[in-house]
Amino acid sequence: MNFEMITPRTTGELLQALANNQGSRVRIGAGYTDLILELKGLKCEETPLVINLADLTDPKFTHIEKTDAGIRLGALVTAGKVIIDASIQTELPVLCKAASELGSRQLRHRATLGGNLCTASPAGDIAAALVALEARCEILSADGTLRTLALTDFLVGVRKTALRQDEVLQSVFIPTRKSINKHLLSDFLKVGTRRSMEIAVVSLAYQFELDAEEIIRHAGIAIGSVAPTVKFVSAAGEFLVGKKFSSIGAVAADKFAAMVCAEATPISDIRASAWYRREVLYNISRGIFDK
């Protein structure tokens, strides 16, 4: 495996690198936990060129920033950093849990949030949590302009994003919901055969906002590994809104699970059959309401 590398240190140098280097041989590198495998498998005539983001110091790329408007996470924030961030622990617990389930400690130390999104794997753990949180992508282009795009529009297919050749993902933004959060209920359910170093066979990320009466005011739900991309399941979420969490019984739970599954279009592969994925998605969706 052979490749060349440019390492910009400032955003200015990055934009220049993007402007000067385009074409099929160019790759962007952050934590390299996916990219190394991609480069190994590459069979191209030209030597790949990697624009290495690892040394960027611009806080927009590297920091977690909390304002009244919301929380902004730089693309280079690692899973390890997400887990220990206090505002994420309290306000975005689903993200915290998802990041803690990624790979292993060694992986989490390197794996970036931007890499997880830009890899666009249907099994991305961080991606699933961020889809449930309705995150927006902040995309920087070589000419310095910034555009934003809903994450669900950013993830367009298996290993396909809406990024153009001269663009990088700078950060994601999760706006604060106007309603007063009284109480959050969330989890990231990852199903696989091993308890670490495992890619989800099925995943379910959810974060519910409940008011003082335990009425669900908002429900963000995403499913992973059951469709070409991580999917936001809006209908099932809306079904829950207005219901009191503790009074959701078996019938409503079954209906909810069926609505979640309606959004799934799983395939069979060596890791599991479509039948299994559906079955499990149904079981764990319904299981949210187990007493």
Binding site: I270, A272, E279, V280
Partner: protein
């Protein structure tokens, strides 16, 4: 006679621990020789095809390429246990591992590039990937070198029987027949396969830095393949990063590397990538076991009838002889009046199997111990009770003529059942998301070598130097199992030398005496006894001199703290001083001893009867699981292992073997499978080949049983294969206990569990 032991039985760190963890150890991959070239192998793109042409001209023209070989360039013999495996394939390929060409170049990168430049024209043929399809009349002959004695696609078969089957069938009130399906799994050695060959133009000798577990058999096999004198081949074993049976056979890459070196007269090294390791190294035998077992109304076992169909793959390895071990389990684990055993290794176009820790026994034990649970349920008997009722006992001679001079079978069952609180366990009520269950299984395995070769012996040469340091030249190899440390402990125990003053030389066939190799959990037993023989000779020599030096008599001597002391006077002399006197004073002798130990086991007769091992190991496991009925995931909560180890030699090494074995067994039970379809390996990486991780491993509680075998060193037996053998059976039995559903194939995947639950509920 009870002896106070000072070293044996005390936790002792592995001699090579520091070198291994610090990176100092020189593995096969670390070897660099002057002028060394890098070899690489071109494997087929298609599992089955005719090779119409091979064009190596572009590869040969690439700067840095020194040699390109195809079958046309070499004049060699086939390899493998049945001689059915060409080293380089000519005219056709029969499985996805097949070696078509090999390259030697000045760098690994150039070698890889050269492979890509070799043009092969294939005409794809239809393959047969299912052994039952290969057994059909209309199936073509899959291996053109096969002997065909037993049928055109049967590579090897075994038949065994004892007792009156008909009579026992008539006695049976309960008969259970079941088919069991076992997967293809692989060793996953941390160190991938590697070899360095160094041929000398002037001496015509070949030195191979090889990871073989059986260097002397390897030397013989390689010589036969290359048409050389075995003595002109020197095998040097570097530090080995895991064997587990994978290095029992010689594989084509090894003679290929030798050929590249002989062609170029330069050293050549071949190192596998992890992907290549998954695709091109051996596997455990996948097989289908059709088992029928019977018991009378009291639960006493009456008979067993078993037919095994093994997927041999395209060529035949030592692994084809695993029935040899499997028949022991069927004929002799628990008391059994009648047994009939048939097995067939059937050629297919799949990757071929080899040998793997347990050697067929995990498969046999899975089927057998699952069937016992089924019989207990049918009889309405307690699963523990039925096992205790039929357990083996000391003094038993089985139908196969295995002689259990010591036997911890019953104890092992009783201990795990008590420790796991089997009797009073909470019975699953069949509701709720998470359900718990406990499964039991036991096993029998050779524990004192296995006489499958004219000799199961091992030679030792021991020599003292003038400073009291002891060098042990042992025929037996260390492949990570810790036997070196045990040998040093034995020397320290017997002669009072400190462990730091013991050196072990065991990695060079030009130096070391003969040994059959590392397999059958035999090394500490056989090499230990061999060393004891050599040490007793040395001790006599040292004693004679010490008696003179100390002015005392023989039975007054105490060997301790690198000294020989008179118990009466307390006067002591350093061993080094004694050795100097032996060397430098009249009559000027060498302080050296050599000894060959041959165990008292027997070569079995044509009907496979005879006491094949000097001792037998018994073990039982009780495993508790918790099944998530939403996902089908099995969490192993607790593992209790009770094993008859004869005598604990090194508790640390023993714990390593037990824990490592159980982990291997859990992978076999729950997650591991080398997935093949149409002859291709679909998961040649750790991403999709699900080796358990540290976070999947439960508490492993080990309860050793010391039965003090009369033949073993200090009473010890072989221990190393046993801990993985009953694990899968115990896990599947636990799942059955938890859910009331029966799984008859491995691995017990979440998907199989959900499917079984679904079928049960409709």
């Amino acid at each position: 006679m009870k002896r106070d032991l000072k070293i044996i039985g005390k936790p002792t760190r592995k001699l090579d621990a520091e070198a291994r963890v610090s990176g100092e150890a020189v593995y096969g991959h670390d070897i660099v020789l002057p002028n060394m070239l890098h070899g690489a192998i071109l494997r087929t793109k298609h599992p089955t095809a005719e090779i119409l042409s091979i064009d190596t001209s572009k590869a040969k023209a690439l700067p840095g390429v020194v040699c390109v070989l195809t079958a046309d360039d070499v004049d060699v013999n086939n390899i493998s246990y049945k001689g059915d495996h060409p080293i380089l394939k000519k005219g056709e390929v029969n499985c996805i591992r097949d070696e078509i060409a090999a390259v030697a170049a000045t760098s690994r990168e150039i070698a890889a590039k050269a492979l890509a430049l070799i043009e092969v024209e294939y005409k794809v043929r239809e393959g047969i990937f299912d052994p039952f399809a290969a057994l059909k009349k209309e199936a073509p002959q899959l291996n053109r070198f096969a002997s065909k004695e037993q049928g055109k696609n049967i590579a090897d078969s075994f038949h065994y029987e004892h007792g009156d089957l008909q009579e026992q069938k008539e006695k049976s009130t309960c008969v259970v027949s079941q088919r069991y399906t076992l997967p293809r799994v692989t060793h996953c050695c941390m160190g991938t396969s590697a070899v360095t060959a160094d041929y000398s133009r002037s001496t015509k000798r070949l030195t191979l830095y090889s990871l073989s577990q059986v260097p002397f058999l390897f030397q013989r096999d390689l010589a036969k393949a290359l048409r050389m004198e075995p003595s002109n081949i020197r095998i040097i074993q570097p530090v080995i990063g895991g064997g587990f049976g994978s290095k029992l056979d010689m594989h084509p890459f090894e003679p290929i590397c030798a050929l590249l070196s002989m062609q170029t007269c330069r050293p050549v090294q071949i190192v596998f990538s992890r992907e290549e390791e998954f695709i091109a190294s051996p596997t455990r035998q996948p097989m289908v076991i059709d088992l029928t077992t019977g018991a009378d109304a009291d639960g006493k076992f009456t008979f067993r009838e078993v037919k095994i169909t093994k997927d041999n793959g395209a060529y035949t390895s030592w692994g084809a002889t695993t029935p040899f071990v499997m028949m022991q389990t069927f004929s002799s684990l628990y008391q059994i009046p009648a047994c009939r055993f048939d097995s067939y290794a059937v050629y297919t176009n799949n990757v071929f199997a080899g040998s793997f820790r347990g050697y067929g026994n995990p498969q046999a034990t899975f089927a057998l111990e699952r069937n016992i649970d089924l019989m207990a349920m049918e009889l309405g008997m307690d699963k523990m009770q039925i096992r205790l009722l039929n357990a083996n006992f000391a003094g038993e001679e089985t139908g196969q003529k295995l002689h259990f001079r010591s036997c911890g079978h019953k104890d092992a069952l009783q201990i795990v059942s008590d420790k796991a609180n089997y009797k009073n366990r909470q019975k699953s009520n069949g509701t709720g998301r998470f359900r718990r269950g406990i499964g039991l299984a036991s096993m029998l395995h050779v524990g004192g070598g296995a006489k499958i070769y004219p000799s199961d012996g091992c030679g030792t040469i021991a020599k003292f130097d003038d400073y009291g340091y002891l060098t042990i030249i042992s025929g037996a190899s260390e492949i990570g199992q810790g036997s070196e440390t045990v040998l040093a402990m034995i020397a320290a125990e017997e002669l009072g030398v400190s462990i730091e003053k013991v050196r072990i030389i065991n990695s060079d066939t030009d130096i070391k005496p003969w040994d059959v190799g590392v397999h059958a959990s035999r090394t500490s037993f056989i090499a230990g006894n061999s060393l004891l023989g050599a040490l007793s000779i040395l001790k006599i020599q040292l004693s004679a001199k010490a008696v003179a030096l100390l002015g005392t008599d023989l039975d007054d001597l105490i060997f301790e703290d690198d000294q020989i002391r008179s118990g009466r006077t307390g006067k002591a002399v350093k061993i080094g001083k004694v050795v100097r006197d032996i060397h430098f004073k009249q009559p000027h002798e060498l302080c050296t001893a050599s000894y060959y130990y041959e165990p008292d086991s027997e070569y079995q007769d044509g009907a496979f009867k005879g006491n094949v091992s000097s001792a037998y190991a018994f073990a039982a496991q009780a495993i508790e699981v918790e099944v998530d009925t939403y996902t089908g995931n099995v969490r192993v909560v607790d593992v209790h292992v009770a094993q008859d180890v004869g005598k604990i030699l090194n508790p640390l090494g023993l714990a390593g073997q037990i824990e490592g074995g159980v982990v291997m067994g859990l992978g076999y039970a729950l997650t591991e499978e080398l997935i093949a379809s149409e002859g291709h390996v679909r998961n040649p990486n750790f991403h999709n080949y699900k080796l358990p991780t540290a976070s999947d491993i439960p508490e492993i509680h080990f309860h050793p049983i010391e039965t003090s075998d009369q033949e073993g060193p200090y009473g010890a037996k072989g221990v190393s294969e046993a801990p993985l053998i009953p694990t899968a059976a115990a896990v599947a039995n636990a799942v059955s206990d938890a859910l009331g559903v029966e799984i008859f194939s491995l691995p017990v995947t979440p998907e199989k569990i959900l499917q079984a639950l679904k079928e049960k509920s409709v």
